[in-house]
Subunit: 148 residues, 2 copies
DNA sequence: ACAACTTAGGCAACGCGATTGACTATTAAC
DNA sequence: GTTAATAGTCAATCGCGTTGCCTAAGTTGT
């Protein structure tokens, strides 16, 4: 019947670079979040990390965060609310514009950022241990090229 | 204040291999699905691809598909229903077990699989063009190691 | 000055894709 | 043959995003 197509499909996906990179990427990401969860940051998910990535050191408006993260203001508003409740960030009405809310990193948020930096360094070290320094350098070069 | 933590965080994420691999992976995946969409398979999403990946050439039960894809039977059932409606697969009660439903690839599903094989090959060729044969080989080696 | 427009954020309704729990029908086991 | 396990579905729910509409606040033009 149509079974041959499935065999070709399976064979192709085994050699597909996109597929393989995706699998590796998911595994590495999961490992990092697992490590962060072990250190008490289990409630921080990927969407929340996007908030920290979009946050300026001196605070940022919700609308700006939303635009940078590529999501709606409502979605960002919900993320911020959750982070405020957990003590990661604080919010304050912009004194220069009463409509706007400025989001700022709080103490726990700073702790999380440092923990994330540590987790990232550990993950990179583990990769380098597995690949060796030379191959890790090559990987960095390759990724730079693939990022186009 | 706590702004320094954000600066370190941003700096670290720029050199984080997991982060970089994730970005590359998302871009490559999006490119493949875009290409498939151009060829008329825009309604097939990643979750549906998991169905084809789990499907045996001679048909597979819904429960088995769900277990392989790592989702609930209900979720797989919904995916299969959508694929049946779009003509990609057919379903039939297992003559050997009246409780079970066997899912089989249909003509349009086979066409999709072939299109996916082509898209995969094109994507790989594009990567090889960007990296060169030697570096592509290294990338494959590296990914094999990282897949642990 | 003040009417008219724009902007920031919140509320409500909804969509999508997944989950769990309870149910029916069928098969297997003792 | 009664009892237990299995395949699949229905219903309710949840998480996370969306759009549409609303109010409050700031900006602009005449």
């Amino acid at each position: 019947m149509h079974g041959d197509a499935l065999r070709e499909f399976e064979e192709a996906s085994r050699h597909d670079l996109t597929h393989t990179i995706g699998a590796v990427s998911r595994a590495l990401t999961a490992a990092i979040f697992e490590r962060l969860a072990e250190r008490g940051y289990g409630s921080v998910h990927q969407a929340h990390v996007a908030v920290f990535s979009a946050l300026d050191p001196d605070g940022t408006r919700v609308s700006t965060l939303a635009a940078r993260a590529g999501i709606s203001r409502q979605a960002m508003s919900a993320l911020v609310r959750a982070l405020v409740a957990a003590g990661y960030v604080t919010t304050e009405t912009d004194p220069a514009d009463q409509r706007a809310t400025i989001v700022r990193l709080d103490r726990r948020g700073a702790e999380f950022c440092r923990a994330a930096v540590v987790a990232s360094a550990e993950a990179n070290a583990e990769i380098e241990r597995a690949l060796g320094a030379e191959q890790t350098g090559r990987l960095r070069d390759i990724l730079r090229i693939l990022a186009e």
